[in-house]
């Protein structure tokens, strides 16, 4: 039963993630690296979790990649490791932008 539910969920997830917009050629999505398989040194592969959907992604172009990293994947290839520090700082900066305005007494419309 659990297996069936899981299969249905992953099938739905797979459909949503990769089949609803197969046309978005420049669409690249971030996912978390679960494990890395280095059996073939010229074709390093990783299992990557995209919001619950696990896919095999080639990470050959990311020599520093490690488990737990978020990678940006496009048509089966990981293009880069997400810079989590940069992401956090940008978001904080954007949030502060609003807080500062609120302190200055401006409307946050």
């Amino acid at each position: 039963m659990f297996l069936l539910a899981f299969m249905a969920k992953s099938a739905l997830g797979f459909f949503l993630l990769f089949c609803t917009k197969p046309e978005d050629m420049c669409l690249a999505v971030p996912g978390k690296v679960i494990s890395i398989d280095q059996t073939d040194p010229e074709m390093k592969m990783a299992k990557v979790n995209f919001s619950g959907i696990i896919k095999d992604i080639c990470v050959q172009w990311l020599p520093e990649v490690k488990e737990g990293d978020y990678v940006l994947a496009h048509v089966g290839m990981a293009l880069n490791i997400l810079d989590e520090k940069d992401a956090k700082e940008t978001l904080e900066l954007l949030r502060e932008m609003g807080e500062l305005d609120a302190e200055m007494g401006r409307d946050a419309w």
């Binding site: 197969p22 999505v29 172009w61 293009l79 954007l94």
Partner: protein, 379 residues
């Protein structure tokens, strides 16, 4: 009127890290307010990438901008600019008995001169949709008696994956695999737009995922030669507004620099390994862009050492007579000279179900985005 509530997560409530934070309505409003504060002049900004066009329409980004800011959509839709000649060749190859023709999904509905690849499939041709060019190698291994051809199109984002498939084919000795290659490059297209006497673009949002691979050094000469600010930009609403904000700040200050507003995935030099692979497998070539014409040095073709994997050499497709729809104004739309609503066929003879031109097929195409999100705006 907003179709988007700015709630995190998709309609099933699943949150996608590093995606949903950038759909936060509070941040969108912060940026929108900042943009209103700094904007004095009237500025025309082009987003190069069709993925960004799609987001701009989907999230109604225009509604967060002052009226004097005009967004113009660029040619960054690979499906839209793949030359008709190549589509016709693809159709001829896919019709062959011995061929399994593999492609990204949306190429199947792009109109050729007489028909599309989907009709070839309906007529019994073995045409398959794949997620990755690497999957085509598996198909080739499983079908040793067939010739497997992958329709290798795309910009710099996709080209390395296609190169990887070719390199792997050679390494593993797979001889029944080839590609029909039609790769296009962003910087020469930007230069063609800037050099045109009709150009009205004053600033660019550079395509974030192209720059993830290529970095942004190649945009520095463009920014200084044509005095345009170029800001590397992502795809979510917050990313896009951040990019627009930085372009406007520069325009107001009279500067023309290359900046990176997508630092979480883009670095100055891009992905070194992917770039190295591109240089090994491909070489620069003049390229015809559908609806636009030939642009010097704006494409990749297979390097001489990989010519054995060129489907055009393997299959003689004969002479192809090309016939474009007379009504379609795709070329002008792709150059930002006209908006989809200016076309007399838009939403009438030309709809996503029966497209006259490629921009109505791909969700990255401006016509499809306008149709889907019900925009009738004209230039």
């Amino acid at each position: 009127m907003l179709k988007w509530a700015g709630m995190p997560g998709d309609k099933y409530g699943r949150v996608m890290k590093y995606v949903d934070e950038y759909r936060d309505m509070a941040l969108v409003r912060n940026l929108s307010r900042k943009i209103h504060e700094v904007t004095r002049g009237s500025w025309t900004i082009m987003e190069i990438c069709g993925g960004q066009t799609h987001s701009i329409m989907k999230y109604g980004i225009g509604e967060f901008l002052p009226e004097r800011i005009q967004l113009v959509h660029g040619p960054g839709c690979p499906v839209c600019v793949t030359p008709l000649e190549i589509i016709d060749k693809a159709i001829r190859i896919a019709q062959r008995e011995e061929v399994i023709f593999c492609s990204f999904g949306d190429m199947l509905r792009v109109p050729g001169s007489e028909k599309d690849l989907l009709s070839v499939k309906a007529e019994g041709g073995d045409v398959r949709i794949l997620y990755s060019p690497l999957d085509a190698l598996k198909v080739a291994l499983e079908n040793p008696k067939k010739q497997v051809v992958f329709f290798a199109i795309g910009f710099e984002t996709t080209a390395p994956a296609n190169a990887m498939a070719v390199k792997e084919a050679r390494r593993k000795g797979i001889t029944n695999f080839s590609i029909l290659s039609a790769h296009v490059l962003v910087p020469p297209a930007m230069e063609a737009i800037l050099a045109s006497p009709h150009n009205k673009i004053q600033g660019f949002l550079a395509a974030g995922h192209v720059c993830t691979v290529m970095g942004y050094e190649e945009y520095l000469p463009l920014a200084s030669r044509y005095k345009v600010p170029i800001v590397v930009t992502g795809f979510e609403p917050v990313d896009i507004l951040q990019g627009i904000y930085q372009v406007i700040l520069q325009l107001e200050q009279g500067s023309a620099e290359v900046e990176n507003a997508y630092g979480r995935v883009v670095t100055r030099e891009g992905n070194r390994e992917a770039k190295k692979l591109l240089t090994e497998v491909f070489e620069h070539t003049d390229m015809k862009w559908r609806g636009i014409g030939s642009i010097p040095d704006s494409g990749f073709s297979l390097a001489p050492s990989y010519e054995a994997y060129n489907a055009e050499n393997i299959f003689d497709v004969g002479h192809v007579v090309q016939q474009e729809s007379e009504k379609c104004i795709a070329g002008e739309v792709l150059q930002g000279l006209k908006k989809p609503g200016d076309c007399s066929a838009f939403g009438r003879e030309c709809k996503p179900e029966h497209p006259l031109g490629a921009p109505m097929v791909s969700s990255e195409g401006a016509c499809a985005a306008y149709y889907r999100f019900k925009k009738t705006e004209t230039a």
